[in-house]
């Protein structure tokens, strides 16, 4: 990637490539080694309540990626003009304006999902990932790199969110994005609760009856606890030694 960028622009060889190894690391690191949710413990607040279904989780992830990316970009552009004493307020105003844009856009584009997410869209403002990246990275780095870092952290957050949602939707409702996947199909289920269906998509494991625990908010906690367990047994350096 780096070589291509240099070849394309021989005149600006002394400049760093647009998307080099450092940028790649910024984008990939948050997906595992430095995941905002499972390692840094940031941004759990506004997230877990929306993960009982996949569709709202995807919308939420896109919204967060947008906000982390652009708030990092704008903060980084303004970083030399923001006085240190009011930087928190300045950052909050940048984030709040972006979230307002997201909220109005979602209200216009997809009202049912907007209703479903209710206050959680507004709560992206207080999502610690956004604030944390601004403080830790965007205030001290160049705009492009800050933007990539913001997108990377948004992706890391979104990946976990969608993973939890997939587990919860399949086991809690027997569906994925609303399509029947396991358990008796919907029409059958409404007449014959817990009765084996004959065939067809949506009755793959017809004996399966939905686990209502997975729909409860508490299940998100169990799923994420188990995710952390799996990640840390695979990635031993993350184990908490204290």
């Amino acid at each position: 990637m780096a070589d291509v960028a240099v070849k394309d622009k021989p005149k600006v060889q002394e400049r760093e490539p647009l998307f080099g190894a450092k940028e790649k690391k910024l984008l990939v690191d948050p997906l595992n080694d430095n995941n905002p949710i499972t390692v840094q413990v940031l941004g759990i607040c506004s997230a877990l309540a929306v993960t009982s279904l996949v569709a709202p989780s995807i919308v939420m992830s896109v919204a967060v990626i947008f906000v982390t990316g652009f708030s990092s970009l704008f903060t980084s552009l303004l970083r030399n003009y923001i006085p240190k004493s009011v930087r928190l307020i300045a950052q909050l105003i940048i984030i709040a304006s972006l979230v307002t844009v997201v909220e109005l856009a979602l209200k216009y584009l997809n009202y049912p999902i907007y209703r479903q997410l209710s206050v959680y869209i507004g709560l992206i403002i207080t999502n610690c990932i956004v604030m944390g990246r601004l403080e830790a990275f965007a205030m001290a780095n160049k705009p492009w790199r800050a933007f990539v870092d913001g997108i990377g952290n948004g992706l890391g957050y979104g990946a976990i969110l969608i993973l939890i949602a997939i587990v919860r939707e399949i086991f809690g409702k027997g569906t994925l994005l609303g399509f029947g996947l396991i358990g008796p199909s919907n029409e059958q289920a409404s007449y014959l609760i817990n009765t084996a269906a004959e065939s067809g998509f949506g009755s793959l494991f017809a004996w399966y009856s939905n686990n209502n625990l997975m729909v409860l908010p508490a299940a998100a906690m169990f799923v994420i606890g188990i995710l952390i367990w799996l990640q840390r047994s695979y990635n031993q350096k993350l184990i908490d030694i204290s």
Partner: protein
């Protein structure tokens, strides 16, 4: 009576942490010892109890169509709410620094981070979407803060004890805290369906 009903409902039945996952970041990060958890819990009660009525006033008299300006300014809601919260947190920070320097040091970065504690902003947004009136919002703020306080004290006490247990290494610390929170959430779930209004009406 309505005041007590909303207080109890916000504190137990619809606990901000255990039913809505609000304020999770500081809840997980500051719950290692009971002492700091206690201090942070008190700060959250105060900030929630103060910001909710102020935000109610702002929402009703400045932002709504029937307010001072006569136009619908609700798109400014997020920015104004977060500004009120940030200034209140600044106030609490100054008070704590003056009266209890040791607690101030123990809370460290998490005191300014109350600003981005989702429970605070979430409370204000719930207040708007549920159309509470002034005393309701005060009750919801105090009750919600009290519920948050209870939850963080409980998890801190459990985590102090569980340090001596033989938890599988990858699950130690954070992973266990999540699972414990889930179990506590299930326990609090048994309170759902209790309607405080019906109980007081029966008397």
């Amino acid at each position: 009576m309505e005041f007590i009903n909303i207080f109890i409902k916000a504190a137990f039945v619809e606990n901000l942490v255990l039913a809505y996952f609000l304020g999770m970041c500081s809840y997980l990060a500051v719950s290692k010892t009971v002492k700091t958890a206690f201090g942070l819990g008190l700060a959250v009660i105060f900030v929630l109890g103060v910001t909710m009525p102020i935000n109610w006033l702002i929402n009703t008299f400045l932002l709504s169509e029937s307010g001072v300006f006569g136009i619908d300014l609700t798109f400014l809601r997020f920015i104004l709410f977060i500004a009120v919260i940030a200034s209140m947190v600044q106030l609490v920070e100054m008070i704590v620094e003056k009266f209890s320097p040791s607690l101030y040091n123990a809370l460290g970065i998490f005191l300014p981070l109350i600003t981005v504690n989702c429970a605070i902003l979430g409370g204000s947004l719930f207040m708007v979407s549920r159309e509470y009136n002034f005393s309701d919002s005060l009750a919801f703020g105090l009750g919600g803060g009290f519920g948050w306080f209870l939850a963080i004290i409980a998890i801190a006490a459990i985590r102090e004890k569980i340090k001596y247990s033989n938890v599988p290494a990858p699950l130690r610390g954070l992973g266990m805290a999540f699972i414990l929170t889930g179990l506590m959430g299930l326990a609090f779930l048994s309170l759902t369906g209790i309607d405080p209004a019906a109980l007081t009406a029966a008397k």
